[in-house]
Chain length 309, copies 4
């Protein structure tokens, strides 16, 4: 049993910048200004004492979900850190302090992405505007912490970080062949297909506290994992989506030794070729959208996978 509030869309202007992130070869990312920090938050409360709300229609310890929303809004003004996970942990701890009837709390959020936009500097060059941003519907960061009451106060019992809805297409250089052929198989084998895959990637730290960003050198930014994904897609001639995500996972674990595991949910959205070898050039194609059914892969990897290689 649990209850809570979801779709709490909140925005903070001039939050603390994320700085001193350790850079990796696959990404130019080294921090975020956080001029705008946007979050779509979900709160979930657990507590044995809440059973009486159900069984006895007794609301006396019931925190209205409307009040939860107000609580979360207020804390975004109080938080002086720079990460999604840090804010969730900060707010979860305050919930546990304020309401003794809560045994455990899960706080999760999608980060609402704001893209920098170039404006002219006056001398013919361009630089990012300090005031105007694009509200993006593309991939976004994700964070989740699950806090319980420990002997020394609230503690992170579980943590999850991620980047979701990454949509990538590779024009050529992906194969899919040699799979099971039987009376139910109609898909043609392809040595070279235009592969379009959407992905959610999640990661867990060995020490959950590292997710908070208080030591930026130990923080894994979702932009960095995003960049590893498309760099590996660019580098690798993949034999399947399974092959591709395995290569991405290995690279993520290699770059970030502070991580324990990385998890994928991939969806295949590959278009279907309707004309090929146009004007004799095998790379020139016309493709169409597939019908709706979507193949997917869910896969978890940990350090053992890395060691085997």
């Amino acid at each position: 049993m649990n209850y809570g509030k979801e779709k709490i869309g909140i925005y903070r202007t001039y939050a603390s910048p994320l700085e001193n992130v350790r850079t990796i070869p696959e990404s130019s990312f080294d921090g975020r200004d956080n001029t705008l920090l946007g979050l779509d938050v979900r709160v979930r409360l657990e507590g044995d004492e809440f059973f009486k709300n159900f069984e006895e229609a007794d609301n006396s310890n019931l925190v209205a979900t409307d009040s939860m929303k107000n609580f979360v809004q207020y804390q975004l003004g109080e938080y002086d850190g720079a990460t999604v996970e840090g804010f969730l942990d900060f707010t979860g701890r305050r919930f546990l302090e304020q309401y003794s009837q809560i045994d455990a709390i899960q706080m999760s959020a999608d980060q609402i992405p704001f893209d920098e936009l170039d404006v002219p500097t006056g001398d013919g060059d361009f630089e990012p505007s300090e005031l105007v941003f694009r509200v993006s519907d593309n991939e976004s960061g994700f964070g989740e912490v699950y806090l319980t009451r420990g002997d020394d106060g609230p503690q992170i019992e579980e943590q999850n970080s991620g980047i979701t809805d990454l949509q990538l297409v590779k024009v050529k250089g992906s194969a899919f062949t040699d799979y099971v052929q039987d009376e139910h198989t109609t898909l043609p084998e392809r040595e070279d297909r235009t592969l379009y895959v959407s992905m959610d990637i999640f990661w867990n730290y060995e020490d959950p506290e590292d997710c908070l960003g208080e030591e930026p050198q130990r923080y894994v930014a979702s932009e960095q994992v995003r960049d590893i994904a498309h760099v590996m897609f660019d580098e690798v001639y993949s034999r399947s989506i399974q092959d591709l995500i395995y290569q991405i996972g290995l690279r993520v674990l290699e770059r970030f030794p502070q991580l324990e595991s990385v998890n994928f949910e991939a969806n295949n959205q590959t278009w279907i070729a309707v004309r090929e070898e146009i004007d004799g050039d095998e790379d020139v194609r016309v493709l169409r959208e597939p019908a709706r059914p979507t193949g997917y892969q869910q896969f978890s990897m940990n350090r053992d996978d890395l060691d085997e290689e």
Copy 2:
């Protein structure tokens, strides 16, 4: 690790009718013609042998998800039963028979609802058309089975049935008062609110085989649970959504002794009054939509809850 296919939308004309369902006082439902049976299916395969698809880029035992789609389509023509769960079990067993590399399979589906539509009989009366149906976007049945390989062949290890996206509003006769009041509380208490709640309700049978509908007297139709939900909403003066779903759950368990548990996910979509007591009548109101944040409750009940009452 698992992989599969989702959003397989399939339709069967003239499937076997569901008949001889045991009726309950809350519902006039006693069967379905199944002139049209529509399903949105998800297949999930598990198997240790699939690891080599990821780790060795070896596709030799990989069943393409496109082939899974073909397989499911084919089996809907073969199935001669009358229920969603029955079809999922039937198809899952055939997957296990055909592909030895599968260790376990989860099959789930949303039922696509078709409403009967009245046409004139010619003598001034109306009866349901035998040919034309409304494709409905309202609440729909849900089924899921998880099959593993047992000593005597495939067996249902887990089962879940449900009705999802039930959207109900009660004009008057719902309260929400006496909850926690503190500095984060701004929601006014209401002795009488126009309560709008959307619900997913799921149930599990003591004996999973009962979900297949082979013994219709032991089958729980999603239409029956739907009807219990709105009948209880009509009957009960609820003190909270928690109170309401508890009352619904008790009634479901009382009517269907073959069930082990019933589970709820409820979302509060209640409108906000902007004018009240219009022309001096306290029941006459103008209301508006709430902002996006949505309170929710997740709750599980089993027979022990029933016995306590």
Copy 3:
């Protein structure tokens, strides 16, 4: 140039019932209780004086769109009629009275449908609940009026009424053959297909005032047009969607001599057969969803079309 507010979702409890509607053979509809009246309203203001908002950044005559929302909400409490169009006309006139800078106003709304739900009467029978309703996502009524300032005050210059998102499927008894065959044709001809069509139907009255419902005998309820649509679909063996909507249009104009024209937007969502003649029965099929591209037809008919028949 115009500006306004859209997506104003408003709800009224215990609005005036719609009664004394003239019945037609295709429909059992004879009125609505309006215990709940829900509308999704759009307001559009026109006026030359508003140009200075743009060109001079002068807001002095600018009615904030937030105030428009408040205005519409307020008027739903004042309106004592029973129809969507009546409410839009009522509110539009009040806008014109209140703000002299408005030259013309378009008010439109989708009606949010609430379905009756049966509850037991206690003697084994069922009747509609007076309190609990399903919030439906299926087809809904539509209304629009365009008001200008005439010599005698506000007048309806244009009017449009409709029913939108009607989704109908006919299991068998629809053909599509004898169309153009050339090198771009791959669609197979079908003497009998399972036809799935979604439709928006709109109608215009000869006298726009008839749309208000003040004379219920001259009002055309969207439920009646809805019922004509599926009754004709049931009756007619159609040769194409074009043929089908023409037959529906003729019947609508025949039943309602107060209408000047009827207009259609139809979308073809027909499934694709993947197995046919299952067990030797030509009516038993398995079908799948089509890929996304959707054929459509837009067609207007007036009384001349009826006279030609």
Copy 4:
């Protein structure tokens, strides 16, 4: 009357690059590689001869919408230009050539945007991948041509180009004050608000042929209009959305003398402040999402507006 096909999602690899576009001070855009060209196409046929499809159920001249889809797919392989509008014109002309029963054709498309993604060059620097792209859900180009049969063959009778779903937020530096205050006004005046506006911008050329891109120096790229929009938003301290879009429109007409008019549909999605002046800094705020109703502005400007300034 018309009919056609919509949602034709098609993709071309290695289309001709768009080069030699005239640059403007507000934008670094000077061309597109078109390694991937994606379009969501809508075809609409008009022709008096099609009436017999409706009135006589005679399909003999009916081009199946499925065939239209095939036709459009095929032509994307034939087209050797570089613009959306060019492809629509090219394909529309071929429709008119192939089918004499068509009197006029409207072809329109949303461009599906693909973002470049940086990969490491090996020497510590980054450059765009030539193979991997992000499929973006953000703003996209739009094109439309309406072709009729003229004395000298097909001609463009109307043309429309645009950029749609531009979502921009400005952290500070936007006012909204001095509007009408009356009993329906509850919105507080703001000297400084965080303004979030989404926009569709459309433009028409004096000479419709300029939209085709055959003379790139006379082509207006949607990326350039996009960049003018956010540069003006950055530059201007706006008094209202009306004021803002007027300033954008003036700049567009100034930069592109080949345009006759520019049209806007703007939607106000501004968040609502829940905490302000945090830690005494007036720029630091917490904001929340507004409820659903959305104010909008529709506005057209032509060269006369520019001359007045």
